[in-house]
């Protein structure tokens, strides 16, 4: 027996059990007829089930004991969910929700369960999403849910699954929407790879719909393959704009997420009628951290990095989502995926994206470039609007050159130079760095003057150099309130780079001394070493360090050509480099808000 067969059977049994618990009769013969593959086992189960009900029902139903137990108010937030729906029993044995007759469960997610249903009166098939009621305990939250869902309902676009009605039944909010008889993109991809053109066309249509919603101030925030259905005409339709949130709403809070384990996620994903962890539409201030946690746990694999990092989420997050869908269509896997949600999140935030053409050599370069541009970590490096994405995809489809030319070499270079890392670590170093620059410059100035005075003895240069070191160490101690050792991995790298530089410098000095060369002949080598050290820090501290490193490399032969000014030139270069670095951090420190951690 396949596991799929089993899980289908389990779903059917779940349906029967819930119906029985809510005391809604089910048309068993119809059920058995409809599911012939399971008929035998289902019938056997139902017989056992009846026997158990006979035995159990007289013993059941002493709810009062629950309600009166000591901690009821604080520890059983699910009480509200245990109430059965008060609704008439349908003659054909279906669950009912207001004027909707629920036919079968289509799927469930963090927010609730989606049913295929029949709307009476209007007589049309609909999909009904029944939200978990946990997070909607208060009137205030219910009202917020309504407002948001109604905002989403006001969006009318052929690429969106329209929401018909928002209502509450027995404290459980639900909304009905058009029933789309088709697969979602995840199912589509599972059934087989799509051509590049097909993938581009799908995402272009999705991007149109997203652009439409964005122009009206509504974000989706949870774009992923499972939320895009392909209707019978082949048109992609985005669902779940119920999660959509107005721009001005607060950013999603993620940090709590980190403590969540996967079993929680599993529970959260599957529970449908209960649970404070279930996600609400309204994960706004005032809702519980668990609520907010749930909102995140849905699909970290397709989440934008800024969302995963708990930063402010804007339209760029949906642009990322478009890229993630395109990536999925082209490679049949999400951009980032790890064993646990937490690992996935850290990949989303920091991990390198595996280039599309490494996963799928068939993928067109331009299309890969479009997806990868959408998936840029930094929101400002992505397309500006969803409309731009759609436009570029259509250019690709029409065989025209695309706008996102990938990144030109120059673009990559300027970005690398502009990039800054660990700002929060180094921001307070500005003044110390400038002080280093001044001391180093003065030290070399003294040595230059000694050299100009005609002294060529190696030993004459040692006292000023050692004094310079002593002053530098004193500044370091003072600026770090007494501690000389690195405090963490970020600092350790800086420490080890400069320690290596000093040791190499000393070794070079020894070499020049024992080979009997002039004191000044060590500076071209020192300049090369300094250049290497700065260059290394380019990827760790600030991209401009690459340029500083380059300047030292260029200076090295010049220092060799002008030995009389080598000491002074080297000192000036150091002074300027540290002054520039120090000024920049000093300015950053004054302009950035105190708690900025970017």
């Amino acid at each position: 027996m396949t596991t799929e067969h089993e899980s289908q059977l389990d779903e059917l049994i779940a349906l029967c059990l819930e119906a029985a618990r809510l005391e809604v009769p089910i048309d068993r013969e119809a059920l058995l007829r409809r599911h012939t593959a399971h008929a035998g086992e289902l019938a056997e189960f139902l017989a056992g089930h009846d026997g158990m009900r006979q035995l159990a029902s007289p013993l059941n139903g002493c709810d009062d004991v629950d309600r009166l137990a000591p901690e009821d108010a604080s520890t059983s937030p699910t009480l509200a969910d245990t109430r059965p729906f008060s609704r008439p029993v349908d003659t054909d044995g279906c669950l009912r929700l207001g004027k909707y007759r629920l036919i079968r469960e289509l799927g469930r997610g963090g927010m609730g369960v989606v049913y295929e249903a029949w709307q009476e009166g209007v007589n049309r098939p609909v999909a009904v999403k029944l939200m978990s009621s946990g997070p909607f305990a208060s009137e205030e939250e219910l009202r917020r849910f309504r407002t948001e869902a109604e905002a989403a309902a006001s969006l009318s676009h052929p690429g969106l699954v329209p929401i018909y009605e928002v209502d509450v039944c027995d404290g459980r909010p639900f909304y009905s929407m058009e029933f789309i008889d088709g697969k979602n993109i995840a199912e589509l991809v599972a059934a087989g790879a799509l051509s590049c053109a097909k993938a581009a066309a799908i995402v272009a249509d999705v991007a149109d719909a997203v652009a439409f919603a964005h122009r009206r101030g509504v974000l989706h925030r949870d774009l992923k393959p499972a939320n895009v259905l392909i209707d019978p005409t082949g048109r992609p339709r985005i669902t779940d704009f119920g999660l959509a949130k107005r721009f001005e709403a607060d950013a999603v809070q993620v940090p709590e997420l980190v403590v969540e384990d996967t079993s929680n996620r599993e529970r959260q994903r599957t529970e449908h009628s209960t649970g404070p962890r279930s996600t609400p539409v309204a994960d706004a201030p005032g809702s519980s951290p668990l609520t907010r946690t749930g909102a995140i746990l849905g699909t970290p694999s397709f989440m934008a990095p800024e969302q995963a990092a708990g930063l402010r989420v804007g339209p760029a997050a949906d642009i990322y989502g478009l890229g993630a869908i395109l990536y999925y269509l082209l490679t049949q896997r999400p951009p980032f995926k790890a064993a646990t949600a937490v690992e996935t999140l850290s990949l989303v935030i920091e991990g390198r994206l595996e280039p599309i053409r490494q996963c799928n050599t068939e993928a067109d370069r331009d299309l890969a470039v479009i997806a990868e541009t959408c998936l840029e970590k930094n929101p400002s490096d992505r397309y500006r609007t969803a409309a731009d994405v759609a436009e570029d995809l259509r250019r690709y489809l029409a065989d025209e050159p695309i706008r996102a030319g990938g990144m030109s070499l120059w673009g990559r270079l300027t970005r690398a130079v502009g990039q800054s890392r660990h700002v929060s670590h180094f921001r307070q170093w500005g003044r110390s760095i400038m002080a280093f620059g001044v001391v180093i410059f003065l030290g070399h100035l003294v040595m230059h003057l000694i050299g100009r005075a005609g002294v060529s003895d190696w030993w004459a240069f040692l006292p000023p150099r050692l004094t310079m070191f002593a002053v530098l160490i004193a500044i370091l101690r003072w600026s770090r309130t007494g501690s000389l050792l690195p405090r963490d991995a970020v600092e350790r790298l800086v420490w080890v780079v400069w320690t290596a530089y000093l040791l190499a410098f000393a070794a070079a000095g020894v070499v020049t001394a024992v080979t009997g060369r002039e004191h000044s002949s060590v500076y071209p080598f020192a300049s090369v070493l300094a250049g290497m050290a700065f260059f290394t820090l380019g990827c760790h501290v600030w991209g401009a360090c690459y340029l500083v490193g380059g300047a030292f490399f260029v200076a090295a032969p010049l220092l060799a050509l002008a030995p009389d000014y080598a000491v002074l030139g080297f000192g000036v270069l150091w002074g300027l480099a540290l002054l520039a670095l120090g000024l920049r951090y000093d300015r950053l420190n004054r302009t950035l808000p105190a708690d900025d951690r970017s």
Binding site: I13, A14, L17, M52, Q54, D66, E71, T75, E271
Partner: protein
Amino acid sequence: MGDEKRRRDDPGDLGRYREYLRFLAEVQLRGPLRAKLDPSDLVQQTMLQAHAAADQCQAENSAAKAGWLRQILNRNLLHAARDLHRDKRDIRKERSLEAAIHESSCRIDAFLAGNDSSPSVRADRNEQVARLALALQELPDAQREAIIRHYFHGQSLAEVGEKIGRSGPAVAGLVHRGLKALRGVLRDEEQSEV
């Protein structure tokens, strides 16, 4: 007199009812009470008291004896629940808790002792519940838990899932396999009802 003496000396006699009582305790201990009180502690206490008071047991047959044990269990349950409430000093709540437990045990009594049914039906029911209790103890923990919570505590699959850390359909699977294992007991039940 000799009969009574024999009964008291034979611990296996009362031991037969252990699973039965445990089952009833599990059925009655629900929600937050379940988290605070261990059914097997209550059964242990009940058995000890029953042994100590075996002299006073007038029960002629097994159904009556089961009823007597149920009374002791109910009293213990009530006391334990009351103790939990004592700190709160909420008399009104305490009263209603008492009433609730009383009501639930009356309901069980009414079902098992069957005021309106013949002695043979009464014996049958007790027998069935006792057999069910025994059979349930044979099940893997997760299956038993799922069945008791769903059928006897009236919890939804999602609620059960939350408590035991499984998904809704997975709970349905547990119930399904559990019922399969209990098939013999349940089939008899069905036939006796027909």
